[in-house]
Symmetry: C2
DNA sequence: TGGTTCATCTCGAGG
DNA sequence: CCTCGAGGTGAACCA
């Protein structure tokens, strides 16, 4: 474990160490007084100030100030770092293509430069994700509703893959959209696209009336069908209906409105059982 | 400008310097062998490895490996950092509330610890944003279409503020949604919500048929009206129609389909004139 | 490569 | 505080 660190190096010294560190594949941190400019998907300029520049061996570059989780400027992994001394300043340039982007950091003073060999240990085990939520539902489908049977996950459709596809107790197709946390109206739109795609695919025309303008009376009909015994299922067998279920811990008021408009249901569920 | 740097400090030395740096409001970087665990909105664990921990005076904490633009673990600004020596390890804990989240980094070895006073220079001037796109359109409304007149920006609606609201040459209300880069179907959904909200607000029932199911014949009618001379505008004056225009450099095929379904238009435009 | 969606998204504005 | 939408979103996955 060899950490190289230079205090107030000259630009020449800093340049040497930078290039040596690039060759070693070290993670480099440069702290100093600098300006930053970016040109690519957008363009930006940042005036003089003391900032920390991180240069990763995978090509990522991060400029951090004293505030914020996000770097004030950056370059994505896959970029190429180069350094030079120009006009009395240490210039670090990070470039990449597709899209063409360039980040330029010009140091008038380097206060400290460190090179660190960062090895392994990148395997992060994370829990409480949307995937956990899906697993939970597949193991206990009754959490959606009594009689629900999952049939497929990531089922393809013309609107993209739906999270969970299944059937309810009456045999109606059910599209389930999963969200690991509280959601807004966008999630309802997403669910609606899947339902719509499936209706088209199955040839369910929903008697041509507007699913957007439906006031929930379809949902009421569903409830009646579910509550009623299946002996009543005479002509309904052909006239099946595609239902939409949004699973999320909670939803915003606007999302609830849109859900009701579409005649969809909300099931309150967390990615993991509450402790 | 006083940068403090410790090479292979003892845990006690590191602890002292950490707390002094917290008091000074310095940006602290700790490079060493550690494990990381997080518990909050989700939960995660990261095994032993050499990583760089950044602790910002605003409460942000970042754990970086040798790869990726993103920190492998982090804590947002507003958190509180604390350090202690426990069980022969240097333990750094960063906590915050709403939501309750805790990041714990346990160092078995500290290879290097630096404390840096990062001052000012956070004002980033960025160009090529959606705001630039709006400015460009307000200065040259004909870029949308001939005869377009912007009336309001950020016009409120029940679906949220629409980017630009105006009228076309025939007096039809036009909702313009701006995107600074290539967009997918979600943007069409957003535009549709604004148009729908405006139709409801203006009492334009669109003869009760489904805007989702419209196959673009409305758009054809529009074109006829625009192309035709206005002498033909007899009964149309009362029956005005709310139009939707999506402004973006380009759109995906699926987005184009959804645009056509709704009878909306796409205008190809960049945030800034191409050089 | 592009298309689509998730994310401990982050961040800022507005009610 | 919540809600909403932008972002140089980033990152994963799949066709």
């Amino acid at each position: 474990m060899t950490v190289t660190s230079l205090h107030d190096p000259s630009h020449r010294e800093a340049l040497w160490e930078l290039e040596a560190a690039f060759d070693r594949g070290d993670l480099v941190s440069v702290f100093g007084r600098c300006t930053v400019s970016y040109e690519g998907r957008a363009a930006s300029d940042l005036g003089t100030g003391d900032r920390l520049l991180l240069l990763k061996p995978d090509g990522a570059a991060l400029v951090h100030t004293d505030e914020g989780r996000q770097p004030v400027n950056w370059q994505p992994p896959g970029s190429e770092h180069r350094a030079a001394v120009r006009e009395g300043r240490l210039r670090v340039v990070s470039t990449r293509t597709t899209p063409d982007e360039t980040l330029t950091v010009r140091f008038s003073d380097v206060h400290e430069l460190s090179a660190m060999p960062v090895t392994g240990g990148r395997d992060l085990a994370i829990h409480g994700t949307e995937e956990d939520l899906r697993t939970r539902i597949l193991e206990r489908p009754d959490l959606i509703e009594s009689g629900f049977e999952p049939r497929e996950t990531e089922r393809p459709s013309s609107a993209g893959p739906m999270d969970v596809f299944g059937v309810d107790a009456d045999g109606n197709p059910v599209v389930v959209e999963l969200k690991r946390r509280r959601v807004g109206p966008d999630a309802v739109g997403q669910l609606a696209r899947y339902v719509r795609a499936l209706r088209e695919e199955l040839g369910v025309d929903e008697e041509r009336d507007d699913p957007l303008d439906s006031d929930g009376d379809d949902a009421a009909a569903d409830a009646a069908e579910i509550d009623g015994d299946d002996t009543a299922a005479d002509a309904d067998a052909i006239d099946l209906e595609v239902r939409g279920v949004l699973v999320a811990p909670s939803i915003t008021d606007r999302a609830a409105e849109r859900l009701a408009d579409r005649g969809f249901d909300h099931v309150a569920l967390e990615p993991a059982p509450e402790e």
